[in-house]
Amino acid sequence: MRQEQEVLKLIHAAYIHIPFCHHICHYCDFNKVLMNRQPVEEYLASLETEMKITLQEYKSNKLQSIFVGGGTPTALNEKQLEFLVTAIQRNLPYDQTTEYTFEANPGDLSIEKLKILKDAGVNRLSFGVQSFNDDLLKAIGRSHRAADVYQSIESAQAIGFKNISIDLIYSLPGQTVEDFKATLKTALGFGLVHYSGYSLIIEPKTVFYNLMNRGKLRLPGEEAEAEMYEVLMEQMELHGLNQYEISNFALQGYESRHNLTYWKNEEYFGFGAGAHSYVGGRRRSNFGPLKKYMEPIKNGELPVLDDHEVTLPEKMEEEMFLGLRKTDGVGIRHFTDKFGYNPSELFRKELSDLTARKLIEIHNGRIMLTKNGRLLGNEVFQSFLGVSNH
């Protein structure tokens, strides 16, 4: 019982995965399938059952954040979308103070779909814009074009969405720093409250990975990538957007609670094929293939592929490498209260090394990345791994 009460206190966030896409992007390694002839309705029904079973096990009072991602959630047709938001409404506790985000592909959202979302209480849209250069969009396998973004954002704003974010990707094949500056300028021209800027990472099982292995992918290189990142940080700052995490920027008060759930090392539900969750001190992942995901649910079982308990040392290491991604870093007091160990002592050697290398700084009781540390975050993050068991 005690366990359940703790969970009730802890879980404030839910992620819902819609693995369907009309097109597959060249860089995407998330769990996804081409939508054509897929059992979408059956999947959505399974999703609802999964929420139901999970919520029976881990009762939650009110979610602070719901995030529907993919895949492409907006690839669902109106009927399917309606079913999805209703299923969420029926099973997940939320209200108008909840941050309720839908990931959207520019060009996918008709007025009708926007209305369905709005009526269901969705209050945040995150558009996968990636670039405003049509040639680059084509080259990375996106189906939308820059013009679609204008149309989508205008419609969304007209319907009443205020909290809109766009995702950009830099260090794309063939992209120059000038090119990225142009994309940034256009993006900032929308005057939105939130932006994310991710550098391209070539993942296995993607078109880009295969091209790279055959020597057919021309990436801008580490220097250009670093410069683009610096330009991104500069421009965001100039426009009053606060960098609250390595890749995320927002006006005060519009930081994404969904993102912060991960970086604060808090627990979250994860629903859908291939979704990840962190519940009751356990990290779990669901089966990715649709059939394997739906099968156990038919029998009233959770479709869990992997399930492991996070040990205290792991939790503390994760608190560091996740927490340090945030600009405000890791609070020494907060860490100590949460785990019963003082990070300054636990990671004494690592912290002093990293300080000497000017990658982190400690002040006002917080451990934070320096500006250079932001560029070389992995150097910092990895140093905490495997330390606290000793």
């Binding site: 991602g69 991960y262 970086w263 990658l359 070389l376 992995n378 993050f381 791994l385």
Partner: protein, 611 residues
């Protein structure tokens, strides 16, 4: 057994090995032969070896499977004892191959019916012919659509000069021709000659170390008889022992009453050091032993030296223990402690060749779980000082100041290469590049040429063999022997990382190639050493003079951008992988240097500008 019984048994022994190019079906054929003879083994063996004990079951001895006794009931109704002896297949182990072949009277030569004869096969065929073996050609894979057995038959006759008219047409995979091969072994491979009552002469063709019984020597009895309790002597070392067990492999180790002329099996005698049972040595009786050993014994001396250092300095003693254990099983391995400013405490180790070096390195990493830095291999240089004294240098870092050196001499080998005449051009080109001196060229027949060069050993230990193979499509065979030392214009090249000299990266190079090699190695190191948080200059220097430089740029960006949809475990794994990569690097001064960088000097020829 009395003399008559022994002689009777002896007349029905057939000892042979299989010579084949990789992929031409050696192991499939061996499996087929085992299958065809197996039925008999289990039934007849029990009658024959009543007192046999199963070593494996008894104490769990581990067996290198390189000789096996088989029973074959031939068409003449008689039961024959076959010993199938396996051979290693690399030039570093040419000597071991020749000793394994010396344990046989015959060899099955397997040639692919589509591909014909390949170079490595040839080298071993010549070794077999040197040992006067009866060679039975087998044309394998005749069921392939591309098979052309008649062409291959002609090739065997022309290239090797063997009569191939009775070559068996076989498909080991499909089980075609196996009986015929077995019958030919009975008919054509001579029975062992020798007097079972004479003084013992047993050839050691391999050995291994077993924790319980000490050294297990793999032997072929050529004269006399040996049994448990006999006092024996190793003729090369003079060491004496009392035999504790003799036996054969079926392939399980099975104890036997005795081993007599023609038998191939093992012997243990509480021998604690593999160095006491040297491959090629002759075992005889301690008293009234043979006066002459069997021919062909050579003491193997290391030809190549390199430094082995644990990446984690705390593992120095573990490394010592690992080397000591490996030494028990490998008398050719030598080592002694040494210190490097850059790498700390380690060992200078001597090996037969590069492959031997790689095998030892890999075994230490795998079996003993010690991550290693291996420095580039070096030969032993003779350095004659201005004051007339002479020193031996097996580590480039120990090379004295140039001002104090009168001259440096380096070891040369006589390299003999055999290949079809189409490849004479490429072979000569490689030999010239490697500072070779042309000695001789002879046509062996219409199409085959033997080319002899004298080449510095240091050039051979780099990538000579690989280059030879690739530029002759694998058709060239290669053998070398040390012929002595000759003066060369050699200089020591130092490498500086972040302006600090890294002794472990120093190497010796011919003066005429020094500038080019310096340029290549700084570029190579730039590729191999990952970016650090700061810029790292790399310089190549001869004495005080910098001859080449390059720069590793500072690391600019290394941070995971995304959150992987909440997949924190994946994030952790990525970071762990990066951290693991670092653990395999050695901190040299302020620079983290990966293992491969210390071997960079080896890879220099990858991009030697073609002149």
């Amino acid at each position: 057994m009395n003399r008559e019984e022994r002689l009777e048994r002896q007349s029905k022994i057939r000892n042979f090995s299989i010579i084949a190019h990789i992929d031409h079906g050696k192991s499939t054929l061996a499996d087929r032969i085992l299958e065809k003879t197996n039925a008999l083994t289990s039934r007849e063996m029990k009658d024959q070896l009543l007192d046999s004990m199963d070593l494996e079951r008894e104490r769990g001895i581990t067996i290198k499977l390189n000789s096996v006794q088989l029973m074959y009931k031939a068409k003449d109704g008689e039961i024959y004892t076959f010993h199938l002896i396996d051979t290693p297949g690399h030039v570093d182990f040419t000597y071991e191959v020749s000793r394994s072949l010396a344990a046989c009277e015959g060899a099955i030569l397997v040639v692919d019916a589509a591909q014909g004869i390949e170079a490595q096969t040839l080298a071993n065929v010549y070794l077999a012919l040197d040992n006067d073996l009866e060679i039975l050609p087998v044309i394998n894979k005749i069921d392939l659509p591309s098979a052309d057995p008649e062409r291959v038959r002609g090739e065997i006759e022309e290239v090797i000069g063997l009569d191939a008219s009775e070559a068996v047409l076989a498909s080991a995979k499909a089980g075609i021709g196996i009986e015929e091969i077995l019958e030919q072994i009975v008919e054509k491979v001579p029975a062992p000659q020798g007097d079972p009552d004479g003084p013992l002469k047993a050839l050691i063709f391999d050995s291994l170390y077993d924790a319980y019984r000490g050294v297990v020597a793999y032997i072929r009895v050529v004269e006399g008889t040996v049994k448990a309790g006999d006092k024996i002597k190793m003729m090369a070392t003079g060491k004496e022992f009392e035999v504790t067990e003799v036996g054969v492999f079926t392939p399980k180790a099975v104890l036997t009453e005795e081993l007599s002329v023609g038998d191939v099996g093992f012997l243990t005698a509480a021998i604690k050091n593999v160095g006491d049972t040297r491959v090629g040595d002759t075992i005889t009786n301690a008293k009234k032993g043979a006066t002459e050993p069997l021919p062909g014994y050579r003491k193997l001396n290391p030809m190549v030296y390199c430094g082995l250092y644990p990446i984690d300095s705390a593992k120095f003693n573990d490394l010592r223990e690992a080397l000591e254990k490996l030494e028990l099983n490998d008398s050719a391995l030598q080592f002694e402690p040494e210190t490097s400013q850059a790498l700390g405490f380690g060992f200078r180790c001597g090996f037969l060749g590069l492959l031997h070096m790689e095998i030892i390195q890999e075994r230490i990493e795998r079996e003993f779980k010690i991550d290693l830095i291996t420095t580039a291999p070096s030969v032993i240089y003779h350095v004659i000082m201005t004051d007339g004294s002479e020193i031996r240098v097996d580590n480039p870092a120990d090379m004295p100041d140039p001002q104090k050196i009168d001259r440096i001499e380096e070891p040369y080998v006589k390299a003999t290469m055999m290949a079809p005449n189409d490849y004479v051009g490429p072979i000569m080109e490689i030999c010239q590049q490697k500072r070779g001196v042309f000695i001789d060229m002879q046509y062996l027949d219409e199409t085959r040429v033997s080319i002899v060069y004298e080449i510095p050993l240091s050039e051979i230990v780099y990538d000579f063999f690989d280059q030879l193979k690739s530029s002759t499509k694998g058709y060239a065979s290669f053998d070398y022997e040390l012929i002595g030392y000759k003066p060369s214009k050699l200089v020591k090249m130092d490498i500086l990382l972040n302006t600090e000299k890294v002794d472990a990266l120093s190497f010796i190079v011919h003066k005429d190639f020094a500038y080019d090699r310096g340029k290549i190695i700084v570029e190579k190191l730039k590729e191999l050493i990952p970016r650090q948080q700061f810029e790292v200059p790399i310089q190549a220097a001869i004495g005080q003079k910098i001859v080449a430089r390059s720069t590793i740029k500072a690391m600019r960006k290394n941070v995971l951008a995304k959150c992987y949809g909440g997949d924190i475990s994946r994030k952790r794994k990525l970071l762990e992988k990066q951290k693991e990569g670092k653990k395999r690097m050695k901190q040299v001064g302020s620079v983290e240097v990966p293992q491969e960088a210390f071997m960079a000097v080896l890879k220099m020829d990858d991009n030697t500008p073609k002149k």
